[in-house]
Amino acid sequence: MEAVLTQHLDPAAPLGLEAYRGVGGYRSLAAAFDLKPEAIIKTVEAANLRGRGGAGFSCGVKWRLRGVDAAKPRYLVCNLDESEPGTFKDRHLLYGGPHQIIEAVIVAAYALQSERAFIFVRGEYATGGNGLKRALKEAEAAGLVGANIGGSGFDLQIDVHLSAGRYICGEGSAQINALEGRRPNPRHKIPRTSIKGLWGQPTTTNNVETLVNVPHILLNGADWFRDLGINGGCGSKLYGVSGKVQHPGLFELPTGTTARELIFDHAGGLAEGRSLLGFLPGGASTAFLLPEHLDVPMDFDPVAKAGSRLGTGGIIVLDDTTCPVAVALNLMRFFARESCGFCTPCRDGLPYLAQILAAIAAGEGQVEDLALLEDLCEKIAPQSFCAFAPGAVMPLTSSLQCFREHYAQHIATGRCPFGKANEGGL
């Protein structure tokens, strides 16, 4: 498959406005303005573009359900607060070609008839965020953003917001609180942010990778997009592979590419003499998959069927020298640190889990600890306020299932067989 999203990306020298136009950039604006907004939404729905932030919800359906008669003003938020461990796809989009993002936001905002859009950029991506701000200025100067874009009668103001916050700011409703200048605690799901979001107005939040697909769908059609995928998938997908592989990296491939192809063909496979212990398919907050799952297509439904989540598509690979207990501890420390502190199960539960894992990793575990971990995971996940804690316990729950003998060995021998008690496993 020819690269679609990454074709003109170059983090070393991202294209300026003229150069981007030279390779066909901003062509989708004219195409969009020729259409009724509802027609664009219909096309996106027909293309079966699913949310690339990790949830996999149909973008077209989300837009349609927002409703044409939603109260005004309506807001669009482009979520570029990529903070998931093992995930670096949005960073590439940001640093490699900011104009592609702006073009996508304009088209999406037109489809949703939003008069104001926010691009929420992870704080650590400041360099890329500043590049995006410069690109936005260029676009504004060229009349691509602002009042009556290209004589279409459509007005749009775009704001690039560099996050002052942390991981939880990537959660849609927490992000809205952050934009409003509040503590980034997630909000209660009723009413939905699509009805009452930013400053109480209808707000649509999309991941940046989702949005950058939209101009291409518009220019090439829904069928073209569906045909890009393989093994039942639709469109192209940015996959990342990291961990114990020879050539970690980012790969744009057809949605539905198998893990085997990703790890062994594109990422160069494991080091000489190593064997695969397992892998996280889509960032830290997904369940482990095992070598037996290598041929599962990396798409939302097949991965869910295998017991995990496609998530962000950022694969993290563990080989037979990796201590899975140390990996679980590493992840749990991350989640405990990033909890916003709002609800009890997450705020006090995750550090508790991390404490037990630390004891096991250090050889101080007790036989009852595995049951205790499972008991706590069972209580924490369904009881917490947002999806953060369920995501946080997912790798631990699956790790306890997949690699139980490793835990038992740590407890029985009173030491880490890999000698990696505090090295994060990898």
């Binding site: 009723i190 502190g341 006090d348 209580k379 369904p382």
Partner: protein
């Protein structure tokens, strides 16, 4: 509106209720932390897990948070379900991983919500082996003690402080299990309502710093339903005493008045009754003497005086004391008054006439409880409500939060101005004209003549457009005609408009009903003319009056005997020939009539080791010593207020029967001379009793002459400059503090400073720069 079924019981609910609210209202217990009646649902603690069964039979029961689950007709809720119990147990276990096991030394012990919930829901054992998280604590001022390690992160404190009371110097900081509730840096909390943190906090993070100075376990406290004596609102309180001393005051829920909260004056002002300067033994000419001897001596003076006798009751004396003093005066042909300042008496009479109508006329404008004030959709506030009735301020903050536009006309800094759409500074002298003009603009909005009137026209327009407008005024800083003007303004608005006056004392309403118009002038002039030889003062401080103090002091020189009944060491008490200490409010039972005209009874909470009589007791004893057949309190009250029935302490109180006052109001006009005028600036801790409360007084603003920046620059005065102020009673050097909350040509001064100068609110004052 419908019913839900909780563990087999049908529970009614109202539109918009959640399961928890409906359950608690019906007395069904569902464990919870972060939910609070006044603060609503949050969904953070996750303790109120219950199991619900969806109507669709094919769906499995589901564990949800009762506080976030909308009540729907026919919803089946199971609190005792195993899955819900397990979830709640998990929450307690997690909260206890960091909560210190310092219960034996914790101030919250005995009323700890966490302890209760742990007993109710928690695991009886402990599995956590890790370290507990620890925090440094902050110094939050003299009223609230901080102990962050005990925090369970329910966010109640910040939701009360920031959201409900609209304060901004306390909040949640940091994240994960290190969320910290405190100030940006150590320092006293700004809010007049900070003490409520002690009650909203379900654990011992925020505790009563005054109570812990002389701590006792709360289960050893003697309590009884009482009424706050610190202003005219009449908040319901629950004082606690031990070993014959008063230790603390907590809120007692009254659904129409204070509900769940108290202001800091009400919570911490009680220290006056333990003040070292308080005299617990009768004194004659400064020397201690037995009660019996003091009584005999007082009786002799009264006998000698014959009808040359005067009795001065008080707005902070209860109904019983005032009524019996009045009865004694009637019996002996003496003169009775309740106010030492005729202007204040007139203002009170005007307020009550406006409130309950003159003889023959029906009630004019409806009064409003605090709960109703919260529902106002526009409000005009005249004066500094925060300094005179702090809980009215809290009620109006709720109206503000609901989007009601507030307008404030003030001569001195008013905290509510911060929330106002329009806040205008108006000097005391101009206030009357401004209110009359506002009335005209309400009647005819197009009459606004100049751009200068645009702000007034805007206020008029907002009040006219409102469906539940509220007009509120502070009686102490308004003259009688201004009080009438305010009422006329309210009457020109929607018929549903409400009118509220903050009155000068917890029983100002009751005292005014007992004192005939003109009696203050009559008593003062009689003392000055020597027509009164013996004056009995009950709970009043004429010698400490700002405007008339000098006159009273001079007049009292002529008295044969000044007999004072009080529980605080006022200037008058100190000058008494015979001082008869009486029980403080928590030490006696009695009745106050609040600003609404609601009579509320309070019960004696405790007795001192040497029990002190109430004012009514002392007067009854005096009558006995004089061999007089004085009616008892009940008879004296029914005589003074026909149809009066004593309200029972602990009930919601009862409206005082309408007893029309004469329409004639003695109007004292404000003197016009001089470029500068004095204005009374109070703060929330200021009242005659609370000014003897040491912890609260630590927060009192330093004395200064507060002047508007523009007025100062006109006069060539700089910020911080020293000025000499001269009034009838003396001169005083003060530093100037520029404050844009002060009106032009006005010098805002604290009550104590006004007393030293001998000037009242609106009186002319000389200012001279000290080079």
């Amino acid at each position: 509106m419908g019913t839900i079924r909780i563990d087999g019981r049908d529970i009614p609910f109202e539109e918009g209720d959640n399961v928890l609210k409906a359950a608690l209202a019906a007395g069904v217990k569902i464990p919870h932390f972060c939910y609070h009646h006044a603060l609503g649902s949050l969904g953070a603690c996750r303790l109120c897990a219950v199991e619900i069964t969806p109507k669709e039979t094919n769906k499995a029961p589901q564990v949800v948070m009762a506080c976030l689950e909308p009540a729907k007709d026919g919803l089946q809720v199971c609190v005792s379900a195993a899955a819900a119990r397990r979830a709640r147990e998990g929450v307690i276990e997690l909260l206890m991983t960091n909560h210190p096991h310092d219960c034996p030394v914790c101030d919250e012990g005995g009323e700890c919500h966490l302890q209760e919930m742990t007993v109710d829901c928690g695991p009886p054992y402990r599995r956590y082996r890790g370290r507990k998280r620890t925090f440094p604590n902050q110094y939050l001022g003299p009223l609230v003690h901080h102990e962050m390690n005990r925090c369970i992160t329910c966010y109640r404190c910040t939701r009360f402080y920031r959201d409900y009371a609209v304060g901004d110097d306390l909040g949640a900081m940091r994240l994960r299990n290190e969320v910290y509730f405190g100030r940006f840096q150590d320092g006293p909390l700004d809010s007049p309502f900070a003490g409520n943190l002690v009650e909203v906090c379900p654990t011992g993070v925020f505790t009563d710093a005054v109570f812990r100075q002389r701590f006792t376990r709360v289960w050893d406290l003697k309590t009884a339903p009482s009424i706050c004596p610190h202003c005219s609102v009449g908040c319901n309180t629950l004082p606690g005493a031990r070993d014959g001393t008063l230790r603390r005051v907590r809120n007692r829920h009254h659904p129409e008045i204070n509900r769940w909260f108290l202001c800091d004056r009400g919570r911490y002002g009680h220290q006056y009754s333990e003040h070292t300067a308080r005299s617990l033994l009768p004194r004659i000419a400064g020397a201690s003497i037995s009660y019996r001897n003091a009584l005999t001596s007082a009786a002799e003076h009264i006998k000698t005086a014959g009808d040359r006798l005067g009795g001065l009751g008080s707005a902070r004396e209860d109904l019983e004391g005032n009524a019996l003093l009045r009865a004694l005066m009637h019996k002996l042909d003496g003169a009775y008054a309740a106010f030492s300042d005729p202007a204040l008496e007139s203002a009170m009479a005007a307020a009550i006439v406006q409130r309950q109508g003159t003889a023959g006329a029906s009630s004019l404008a409806k009064l409003a409880s605090l709960a109703e004030m919260e529902q106002a959709d526009a409000a005009l506030i005249v004066g500094d409500l925060t300094g005179h009735a702090p809980m009215m301020d809290l009620a109006l903050r709720q109206a503000y939060r609901r989007g009601a536009p507030l307008a404030v006309l003030h001569s001195t800094p008013a905290p509510l101005a911060r929330f106002a759409v329009t806040a205008l500074t108006v000097s005391p002298r101009e206030m009357g004209a401004r209110l009359s003009r506002l009335s005209e603009l309400v009647a005819d909005p197009s009459a606004a003549s100049s751009t200068q009137e645009a702000a007034l026209a805007d206020i008029a327009a907002r009040l006219t457009a409102a469906r539940r407008p509220l007009v509120a005024g502070v009686v102490e800083t308004l003259a009688a005609p201004e009080i009438v003007a305010l009422a006329q303004l309210a009457m020109a608005l929607d018929p549903s408009a409400r009118l509220v006056y903050a009155l000068p004392g917890p029983n100002a309403y009751g005292a005014a009903l007992l004192a005939p118009a003109g009696s203050a002038t009559a008593v003062l002039e009689a003392v000055e003319a020597g027509r009164i030889q013996t004056l009995i003062v009950a709970g009043n401080d004429p010698l400490g009056d700002a405007r008339l103090g000098p006159r009273w002091r001079a007049a009292c020189q002529r008295l044969d005997a000044l007999i004072v009944l009080d529980c605080v060491a006022t200037a008058t008490a100190q000058a008494a020939d015979i001082l008869l200490p009486v029980a403080a409010w928590a030490e006696r039972g009695g009745t106050f009539v609040n600003y609404e005209g609601r009579a509320q009874g309070f019960a004696p909470v405790f007795q001192r080791p040497e029990p002190l009589p109430t004012t009514a007791d002392v007067i009854a004893d005096l009558a006995q010593a004089l061999d007089l057949a004085l009616p008892d309190v009940t008879a004296a009250l029914s005589d003074a207020i026909p149809g009066y029935q004593a309200p029972i302490p602990g009930t919601l109180g009862s409206p005082i029967p309408v007893s029309p006052l004469p329409a004639h109001i003695d109007v004292a006009t404000r003197p016009e001379s001089g470029p500068w005028q004095a204005a009374l600036t109070t703060w929330y801790g200021d009242d005659p009793l609370a000014s003897f409360a040491p912890a609260l007084m630590e927060l009192a603003p330093a004395p200064a002459a507060r002047i508007a920046p523009a007025a100062a620059s006109n006069a060539g005065i700089e910020d911080g400059a020293r000025v000499m102020l001269r009034g009838p009673a003396g001169a005083l050097a003060l530093s100037v503090q520029l404050d844009s909350g002060v009106a032009m040509d006005t010098i805002a001064l604290a009550r104590a400073t006004l007393v030293q100068l001998g000037v009242g609110h609106g009186d002319p004052l000389d200012l001279e720069q000290i080079p």
